[in-house]
């Protein structure tokens, strides 16, 4: 993207009175103070609530499913105390209190909070710089993938060891549920977190996100949300899958509360992040960056943020009400006292299905973003790609019922929702067609990010086509609840989402870290994981077609072979991911130093130095051309050709005469 510079007049701005040293209270807060504050507040909330509930309800009070209600309330308050204490300890409440008191931030305060000249300490503080937040998201994502991946290995170990029972069935079910929700959270943030925060503002030509303090708030809320979720494994676990259907969730051990508090907190984090991303993209694009010059990744992040913003509260409220059923003994989802399990399923899937697109759209848009760079061609049918993204965003609102075909809820709605679900494959296929069209007759550079394009196309086609079958009501009657479904959504979420994210991260890694990702070990890890992925989930398709149900510990010997193969494939994925992780960690320290424009791209992040300076650009850029103007003939050569043609024509004319 060609740029011209705009001279930004730096006016002198009189400052409010500096009350204390720049940063104020935040000078004394960091991750350690947050941990201490969180643990202490959690303990205080636990003891206080325990005393109060014992006095009020007595020791024998139970909830709808005969679980001690006092214990439920105490555990809930403990987790709430943890989140509040942690956020207070990191300094998240300092901003609202200052705003309330009218003590506005000075420029020096803002510079301190953005971590200017602070060194590595800024990564452990409530830092507002979007680049720091992007790196924090990247690290948190990697940790979540590591944990979720470890649980996946345990699941496959159990299913592969067909001759014995490795885990207690309850613990096995808890592993399944925890693996599911950890991976869902990790996949939701894997692009929108690191890339959305680090790259998108620079790609838009902005100095920071629209609301820097909200940006820091979103990552620290996410970090606060994780311990309650992980701790469920120590408190009876979540045995009901990541969907935690009612009334099973109401009957589950107290570990379920960790899940619920995690989701409620994570929804706040996601909502705040979505508000920030949407506002940044809509309001802070550089001069000259019209909507038709906006990079496709920005559209992808925008679409994902819109879906997250609109639908996440449904999921959040489903968990608030479920928690209320456990603790306050209300009856939203308890049929015996007037509740409905269908209500839960509706609220849950209103986010539960759009969440697939929240995950896949940014990864796909990220791949589309760098594809033209590697084939040195314009993006094929840019407008079709934009239409595809917003077609998916629009239709995502009317597809959730296909998860409820077999529940008996409103059977007459099955066919309209079958139609809408099948229709969403149309805008989705636009995106695949744009990929294929861009590659058509291209001469791609065979680099690691480009490899991910092939993987994504392959996986997305398989995941997409099997999804069309599953959205078909008659087919779903047979396939529902089988391993076929598990294989399908892994092809979409992991195959298209995660492998796409690996490509996107490897593409932006040099800009974010300042060093190239190791091409050799990155590729070895990527292809090893890809091969293992095909083995694992192709075999799982077979098991599903044979009729193997999902979420079971013991199964007929008919399914042994396919499960052995799947388990071997899963271990191969694990090895591949470890190699890829090694490539990331090693490259972070020892990779080849990247130039300012690591891949010869034309988007704005390539027009600032690497590493990206504190204020992103010395002067704000002005956009004068599109982001994918590769292969445009050189105007000078065009003019030269025209002169040549005219000269040749004149010579021919004179020769004839």
């Amino acid at each position: 993207m060609s740029t011209a510079v705009a001279i930004h007049e730096q006016a002198h701005v009189p400052q409010p009175k500096q009350i204390s040293n720049p940063g104020g209270f935040l000078r004394r807060t960091n991750f350690l103070t947050a941990l201490v504050s969180g643990v202490v507040t959690a303990a205080i909330f636990w003891f206080a609530t325990d005393k109060i509930t014992s006095a009020v309800t007595g020791p024998g009070a139970t909830n709808n499913m005969s679980l001690p209600s006092g214990l439920n309330i105490s555990i809930t308050m403990m987790y709430i105390g943890w989140v509040l204490g942690f956020m207070a300890g990191i300094g998240a409440f300092a901003g609202p209190i200052r705003w309330f008191l009218g003590h506005d931030l000075t420029h020096a305060d803002a510079e301190y909070m953005a971590g200017k000249d602070m060194g590595r300490e800024k990564f452990w503080k409530f830092t507002t710089d979007h680049k720091v937040v992007g790196i924090q998201y990247l690290v948190v994502t990697l940790i979540l993938f590591g944990f979720g991946g470890l649980l996946a290995m345990l699941i496959r170990t159990e299913l592969g060891a067909t001759w014995t029972e490795v885990f207690n069935p309850n613990f096995y079910n808890s592993i399944i549920g925890t693996h599911g929700i950890v991976m869902i959270i990790a996949m939701i943030i894997v692009i929108s977190g690191p890339i959305g925060n680090f790259i998108v503002p620079i790609m838009c030509g902005a100095r920071d996100m629209a609301f820097p303090r909200l940006n820091a708030l979103s990552i620290w809320l996410l970090i606060a949300a994780i311990p309650p979720l992980v701790s469920n494994l120590l408190m009876g676990g979540i045995r009901d899958g990541w969907t935690v259907y009612q009334p099973l969730a109401d009957q589950a051990p107290i570990g379920m509360i960790g899940y619920q508090v995690c989701i409620i907190t994570f929804a706040f984090s996601t909502g705040i992040a979505s508000v920030n991303l949407i506002t940044t993209i809509v309001r802070m694009r550089a001069a000259g960056m019209t909507w038709s010059r906006t990079p496709i990744l920005v559209y992808g992040i925008l679409g994902s943020a819109i879906m997250g913003l609109v639908w996440f509260p449904m999921y959040q409220y489903s968990q608030i009400l479920a928690l209320s059923d456990r603790t306050l003994l209300t009856s939203f989802f308890v049929p015996a006292s007037g509740g409905s399990v269908w209500l839960y399923e509706n609220l849950f899937w209103l986010l539960g299905h759009p969440e697939v697109y929240v995950i896949v759209i940014p990864a796909t848009a990220g791949v589309l973003e760098y594809l033209p760079v590697f084939v040195r061609k314009p993006l094929f049918s840019y407008k079709l790609a934009v239409a595809g993204i917003f077609g998916v965003v629009g239709l995502s609102a009317v597809v959730w019922v296909h998860h409820m075909y077999m529940t008996g809820w409103a059977p007459q709605s099955n066919y309209p929702f079958m139609m809408s679900t099948e229709m969403i494959s149309i805008p989705f296929s636009f995106l695949v067609l744009v990929m294929l069209g861009t590659m058509w007759r291209g001469m791609p550079w065979k680099r690691l990010p480009m490899m991910a394009v092939y993987a994504v196309v392959w996986n997305k086609v398989i995941g997409g086509i099997t999804g069309v079958y599953l959205s078909d009501t008659p087919v779903d009657q047979y396939m529902h609840g089988s391993m076929f479904v598990v294989a399908h959504f892994h092809y979409m979420l992991m195959g298209a989402g995660l492998f796409g994210a690996m490509g996107v991260i490897s593409y932006f890694f040099p800009k974010m870290i300042g060093r190239y990702l190791d091409e050799f070990w990155g590729s070895v890890g990527f292809w090893t994981a890809f091969a293992g992925f095909q083995v694992t989930f192709m075999s799982m398709f077979v098991a599903g077609l044979q009729g193997m149900p999902r979420r079971v510990l013991q199964f007929d010997s008919l399914f042994n072979i396919s499960n052995w193969i799947s388990t071997i494939g899963a271990y191969v994925i694990g090895i591949g991911m470890l190699i890829f992780l090694y490539a990331i960690v090693d490259s972070w320290r020892n990779g080849i130093i990247a130039p300012d424009n690591p891949w010869g791209g034309k988007t704005l992040e390539n027009f600032t130095s690497t590493p990206v300076p504190h204020e992103n650009f010395p002067v704000l850029p002005v956009v004068t051309s599109g982001p994918y103007d590769f292969g445009t003939p050189d105007p000078y050569e065009l003019a030269d050709d025209a002169i040549m043609r005219k000269t040749e024509g004149a010579e021919k004319v004179s020769a004839r005469s």
Binding site: A11, D104, L214
Partner: protein, 222 residues
């Protein structure tokens, strides 16, 4: 939200970013709109839950009929809503006054609005404490209780915001040159009014379930 400000050569600039306050105000406005969109979805979730359980009357357990439990009187919902509505009107009025240069009007409007909202918040707590049912007295009790709790949480936030505008106007942060934050708070209060109004309508209109012959559902107990 970006913070205010100082005036130079006829322009008001943000002390934090150095941008014109019209620019930061435009961002803030869109951000608040987005927050309202998200909150609206949450409100819809509660209202849908209410209407859904009302229409199904699962196991004939919608109505709060056990023991002394009864329907909640509807007038407190409307009293609380009316207080919120008046507080919002006052805040908008103060904002208009501020835009025409009357700082004192904004100050008094924010103070009055805060007091009204505080009153509504206290009334909300009283209403919850005096409901003629407990949380476990059927689906109506659950849905109504949560509409009231949600409104109480919103009112707590509203009191915080309105008092902050009062403080900030006194401190010279909300000024005729930079009235953005007062407008944002008034916008948010308007949304809260709509949410409270819908909650009041639902609890007033939808009491007896239309489904008088609901089929028994399994209790799904262990």
């Amino acid at each position: 939200m970006s913070d205010s400000t100082a005036t130079e050569i006829g322009r008001t600039l943000s002390s934090t970013t150095g941008e014109m306050v019209e620019v930061t105000g435009s961002r803030d406005k869109l951000g608040v709109w987005m927050i309202i969109v998200s909150c609206t979805t949450g409100t819809i979730a509660l209202l849908v839950s209410y209407a859904y359980l009302w229409s199904l009357n699962v196991n004939s357990a919608w109505a709060p009929t056990s023991g002394s439990a009864n329907w909640a009187p509807v007038w407190p919902f409307w009293v609380i809503f009316t207080a919120m509505f008046i507080a919002t009107l006052i805040m908008w009025n103060g904002y208009r006054g501020l835009c025409s240069g009357k700082v004192a009007a904004m100050k008094s409007a924010a103070l009055l609005s805060s007091l009204l909202l505080l009153g509504a918040f206290v009334a909300q707590i009283f209403q919850i404490a005096r409901f003629p049912f407990g949380p476990a007295d059927g689906a109506y009790a659950s849905a109504t209780l949560w509409l009231a709790i949600a409104n109480g949480i919103w009112l707590f936030l509203a009191v915080f915001l309105a008092m902050a505008i009062f403080n900030r106007t006194r401190a010279g942060r909300v000024t005729p040159e930079n009235p953005n934050h007062a407008r944002l708070v008034a916008m948010f209060l308007t949304y809260l009014c709509v949410a409270a109004f819908l909650g009041s309508v639902f609890t007033t209109v939808m009491q007896d379930s239309p489904n008088t012959q609901s089929p028994p559902f399994g209790t799904f107990s262990q």
